[in-house]
Symmetry: C2
Subunit: 152 residues, 2 copies
DNA sequence: AGACCAACGTTGGTTTGGCCAACATTACAT
DNA sequence: ATGTAATGTTGGCCAAACCAACGTTGGTCT
């Protein structure tokens, strides 16, 4: 009976920050696994979704809306441009900018990703009722709003 | 009026996995900032807290309880041993093991950290009532339990 | 006894994501 | 015109979660 493999310490178990992070790890693992089927990572999806929802935009603007850093955005756009899921074209009206536009193939891919993602959310939230899920969303949204959420 | 800086896309805003991760980023940022005052990172705290709560144990056992990987545990123990917050001694009964014991200085440090951490939790949860906080804890705990929580 | 296999600490490495700093180019305001 | 700001890009940092391998040691099994 040496070190009988106890559960994690009480001090840690009820810690909101830790619980949140733990849940985030679980959620991200599930989502990543789902996206991996399509050879895609979270950034890619965020970008495609934003493009479809807001239409073409510059990399900087897209970065602001998705929470992806300018520098990381470069690589993300590169990836998706290579696969022809979006197009990068210089803005004639402002030659500093690239205008990023989603392609038809991108939209098709996005539809697939949406399905995968929905399934992932469902797996993540499996133990919660619909009411619980809404409740969780509300609580987290309030936290994000209050803290000005750099992430988004 | 070009790209009037809209908010993040609807598709992403209500996504539970993303909300959770966003909240985790916020929480971790706050906690890290608090711990940084003491020159400490989250792993260090987890280890000290576990030691005080469960008493001396081997690195592997501690890793299992805190969710810290064996290899990362080495560095964590190194750090804290250097600062004399814990002691690493070979186990006479099993020479594969190191027995890690918290020192009095470690306990003192831990008390400080607990205060810092409590303040950090409060900052994180600021917009939520006591009932809301408990609610959030319950929901996240259910998620962790259901998914067998590698993190702990 | 010997032969296996499992656990331990350790080293070293990969990957991902969130960052920050700097730079040349271009736009804009004064 | 002169300075300030935004853009895309490169290159880098760091924490954290992992994984693979190794030599050492323990325990098991026959």
């Amino acid at each position: 009976m040496d070190t009988p493999e106890g559960p994690p310490p009480e001090r840690l178990r009820a810690l909101p920050s830790r619980l949140t992070y733990g849940a985030a790890l679980i959620a991200n693992r599930i989502v990543d696994r789902a996206f991996a089927q399509a050879g895609i990572r979270r950034h890619h999806y965020s970008l495609l979704a934003t493009l479809e929802e807001y239409g073409p935009a510059s990399q900087a603007a897209l970065g602001r809306r998705t929470g992806i850093d300018r520098s990381d955005m470069v690589a993300t756009v590169n990836d998706l441009a290579e696969r022809q899921l979006l197009e990068r074209a210089p803005d004639p009206e402002d030659r500093r900018r690239n205008i990023i536009t989603i392609t038809p193939a991108g939209r098709r891919q996005l539809a697939d990703l949406d399905r995968l993602l929905a399934a992932a959310q469902d797996e993540y939230l499996a133990p919660l009722s619909a009411a619980d899920r809404q409740n969780l969303i509300n609580l987290l949204t309030r936290l994000a709003d209050h803290h000005g959420d750099k992430h988004n």
